[in-house]
């Protein structure tokens, strides 16, 4: 839409004029709309955490055992990678708002690189798990055969692949929209004075980070302590 929008004015009975908020150029509306969209993601992942907690309560030891078998080093590296990517994304927005468009573009590229690194590391993790026979569709996660894991571990890994998979899917989408953002900046549609798109994409990336802040400890850390068979938590 063009930027020649001039807001309308409404006159009351005393002749006083009030500016009408139109749908164009509504930065607050754009922010509100994007936050509402992110609430849907909260509800979605919230329901998944509900499923996870339900099965954790039924099979505590199995969950802890399965958690202990995950690669905490790779998972931890990914946590730090994602943390830094949130920083670069935020700095990019700050630079854009202050007028440093080139710096902003650089920071967005840095975020894309870190996001890709995250996916590559996750790829290594999943490949290693596949090679250990632990993957969707393989015997260990089916029931009734000689390699079958106990119920709790099957459910743990089912949710593990689902949730980290969906999270990774959101990262792929994030990379996509960051590339699109770079295009919009190059085309002059996103500028220091008109940056709601950049603001919202930064919010999106923070949400992706936020989800991982809960996914990581839930899957990787609950089995990190004494794994000699003692039940932790409640």
């Amino acid at each position: 839409m063009s930027h020649e929008y001039v807001p309308e004015v409404s006159t009351d009975r005393e002749g006083k004029e009030h500016v009408v908020q139109g749908w164009q150029d509504d930065r607050e509306g754009g922010k509100m709309g994007f936050w509402l969209f992110m609430l849907t993601e909260v509800m979605m992942f919230g329901a998944m955490f509900l499923v996870l907690t339900y099965y954790f309560s039924l099979h505590q030891q199995d969950f802890i055992n399965a958690s202990a078998s995950l690669n905490r080093l790779l998972g931890g590296i990914n946590t730090v990678v994602l943390l830094f990517s949130a920083l670069t994304m935020g700095l990019g927005l700050l630079k854009m708002r202050s007028g440093d468009v080139k710096g902003a573009q650089l920071m967005i590229w840095a975020t894309i690189v870190l996001a890709t690194a995250f996916l590559v590391i996750k790829g290594f993790e999943w490949t290693a798990e596949y090679n250990h026979g632990v993957f969707l569709g393989l015997d260990a996660l089916q029931s009734g055969n000689e390699h079958s894991k106990p119920f709790g571990e099957i459910l743990f890994f089912g949710m593990y692949f689902t949730m980290t998979g969906l999270h990774g899917f959101h990262i792929i989408i994030g990379i996509g929209i960051m590339l699109w953002l770079l295009k919009r900046i190059k085309a002059g549609k996103v500028t220091p004075g008109h940056n709601i798109l950049h603001f919202n994409i930064a919010l999106y990336w923070d949400l992706v980070h936020l989800i991982w802040v809960f996914v990581f400890p839930y899957f990787y850390m609950i089995g990190a302590g004494d794994i000699g068979g003692v039940i932790h938590g409640h």
């Binding site: 309308e8 409404s10 006159t11 009351d12 009975r13 009030h18 500016v19 009408v20 908020q21 139109g22 749908w23 509504d26 607050e28 509306g29 509100m32 709309g33 509402l36 969209f37 609430l39 849907t40 993601e41 509800m43 979605m44 992942f45 329901a47 998944m48 509900l50 499923v51 339900y54 099965y55 039924l58 099979h59 969707l136 569709g137 996660l141 089916q142 029931s143 009734g144 119920f151 709790g152 099957i154 459910l155 089912g158 949710m159 692949f161 689902t162 969906l166």
Partner: protein
């Protein structure tokens, strides 16, 4: 002659500036045109589902198999439910009148995100196409009817094991859910940001309150069923185990997750309908509505309480007694705000000058049919009673009285009320009234016997039944013919009215809300010529006449 939003070239488009009328419709971002397109598609699917139901009623007219077998019957009620719920009633009033009327009512020129609105409509169409594609399956013998046979509720573990097109239907429902979420999002931002200067929340028309409360449910409840459907798809494809008992998964968990959405969904259906009732009653009683604030707040509380009562669909599924008790207790609460609305509407009519035009007939008829639907819901909210009546025709009669006799009847009321606004013409009033009476008699003939049949034990979703139930099915069968006749007659009358009806001027009914105060009928593309300053309440009448009057610059001249 001033131009209306329906005229050629009188529209804004998402992409470019097309010259042909066809592409102007396909690419339009105008909320009024989008609402009309939703209505056109939704009603086509509505009649497909109605005929599926008629098919079932004819089959069930006598015990034993008449012309379809048990498997196909299961597919029939699944198709009926999937279309009625996901393709018709959930987009429902928000997609049609939320789009067409709500921005006009708040003095806005469009919704907050018109291009998103355009995208959402076409996302809905994609969902419909995917749902249609689940109808056919190709096997060794050629093409067959492949639609899922699980019921629209897709309960595990049957939905995981059946080889009908469950996954396609789940994908369709997911896409349609996304469209619902985006509509809710758009409306929430619109109502927060684009109200005319001076219009605080408590000066908004009650229909806008209804759309607002509904939008919160669309936004926050739908993602839960979205992820449930995805988990079911992953379960079918990858065997992740969470709903499969052979891996320790719990099918009751599916029910919890499914109903965490699907119960709020019924409030999503009824709240805009109640909003329409709150618009029609004052206009046709020529009086200010009684209890504006309580009706507004009751919409908000129904939306809120509606989130926490889903377990009453699971009374017989193996929940603990304490959970059953909690849900029963909370379910009784949700009837209270609805009751408050009913008392307020009746109080509005008291000492009013009642005009029994078609919209008012539909509204009054709904007061009766929804009262039956709502009160029978309270009966089965009681755990002990529900043990006997769960999954019988009693439940089916309850929700059809509530949804058909509540939501759909009020949708029809809205069609007849806003018809002159949307089209600039009027339908034949006499024929419209006959259509109403056919529908009203039909719904009661069709559904009331089912309360009795259900009480005596007739199970739902059953293809065959014991001879003692035959009389109920026969009466229902007659009622089905009557109501289908009424529906077709009503639609024909409305379509004929749009094509050949007499042209009418602005504010045909003498209403007070802003959508009636445009300068031409139908409204121009940009709605009001100037946004008015709103320092008045939405339903101000004095001696039966609207108080607030505007000149052609939207300045008050009363």
């Amino acid at each position: 002659m001033s131009k209306s939003y329906l005229d050629k070239d009188e529209t804004h488009c998402a992409i470019g500036h097309p010259k042909s009328a066809f592409w102007q419709w396909m690419l339009t971002v105008d909320h009024k045109r989008i609402g009309i397109m939703y209505a056109a598609v939704m009603f086509v699917f509505f009649f497909v589902a109605v005929f599926t139901a008629l098919l079932m009623r004819v089959e069930l007219f006598a015990p034993g198999a008449q012309f379809i077998d048990g498997d196909m019957f299961n597919q029939a009620f699944t198709l009926h439910g999937v279309i009625m719920v996901f393709l018709f009633i959930i987009p429902g009033i928000p997609a049609v009148f939320g789009n067409i009327v709500m921005p006009l009512m708040i003095g806005a020129k469009d919704v907050s995100f018109p291009r998103l609105n355009w995208f959402t409509f076409w996302l809905y169409i994609v969902g419909c196409i995917i749902a249609l594609s689940s109808l056919v399956t190709f096997n060794d013998a050629g093409a067959a009817i492949g639609i899922a046979d699980t019921g629209w509720t897709f309960y595990a573990p049957y939905s995981l094991n059946t080889d009908t097109n469950v996954i396609t239907t789940l994908v369709a429902a997911f896409v349609l859910g996304m469209a619902s979420i985006l509509t809710g999002l758009n409306f929430l931002v619109t109502i927060h940001r684009l109200r005319a200067p001076g219009m605080g929340f408590f000066k908004m028309p009650l229909f806008v309150w209804g759309i607002y409360a509904t939008a919160w449910i669309q936004l926050l409840a739908t993602p839960v069923v979205g992820i449930t459907l995805i988990l079911a798809i992953l379960e079918k494809f990858f065997g992740i185990g969470i709903f499969d008992p052979s891996k320790g998964g719990d099918p009751v968990l599916f029910q919890h997750l499914f109903w965490i959405y699907s119960h709020p969904a019924v409030y999503l259906m009824i709240l805009p309908a109640f909003g329409i009732m709150s618009e029609i009653i004052p206009v046709f009683s020529r009086r200010e509505i009684f209890g504006y604030r309580t009706i507004a707040l009751s919409s908000a509380s129904i939306a809120g309480i509606g989130y926490i009562v889903w377990g009453h669909h699971l009374y017989t599924s193996g929940m603990s007694d304490i959970a059953k008790t909690i849900f029963s207790f909370l379910t009784f609460f949700v009837a209270v705000p609805t009751g408050i609305k009913f008392y307020d509407w009746i109080a509005t009519m008291y000492k009013g000058k009642i005009i029994l035009a078609t919209p008012m007939l539909w509204a009054l008829g709904t007061i009766i049919t929804f009262a039956i639907g709502g009160l029978t819901g309270v009966t089965i909210a009681m755990v002990g009673v529900d043990i006997h009546l769960q999954d019988t025709y009693y439940s089916v009669a309850h929700f059809h009285y509530a949804i058909l006799g509540g939501v759909v009847f009020l949708l029809f009321a809205g069609l007849h009320y806003w018809f002159p606004l949307v089209t600039g013409k009027m339908y034949n009033e006499t024929r419209a009234k006959i259509a109403f009476y056919l529908n009203f008699v039909g719904i009661n003939l069709l559904w009331f016997p089912m309360f009795i049949a259900g009480y005596y034990g007739m199970p739902r979703r059953y293809f065959d039944y014991l001879p003692e139930f035959e009389v109920y099915h026969q009466v229902s069968g007659v009622g089905a013919i009557v109501i289908v006749t009424g529906l077709i007659f009503m639609m024909w009358n409305l379509i004929r009215g749009w094509r050949k009806g007499e042209k009418v001027g602005v504010n045909y009914w003498g209403a007070t809300t802003l959508e009636w105060h445009t300068q031409s009928s139908p409204p121009p593309l940009e709605n009001h010529p100037k946004v008015p300053y709103v320092d008045f309440n939405p339903y101000e009448y004095h001696h039966g006449e609207p108080v607030v009057k505007f000149d052609e610059n939207m300045k008050r001249i009363d």
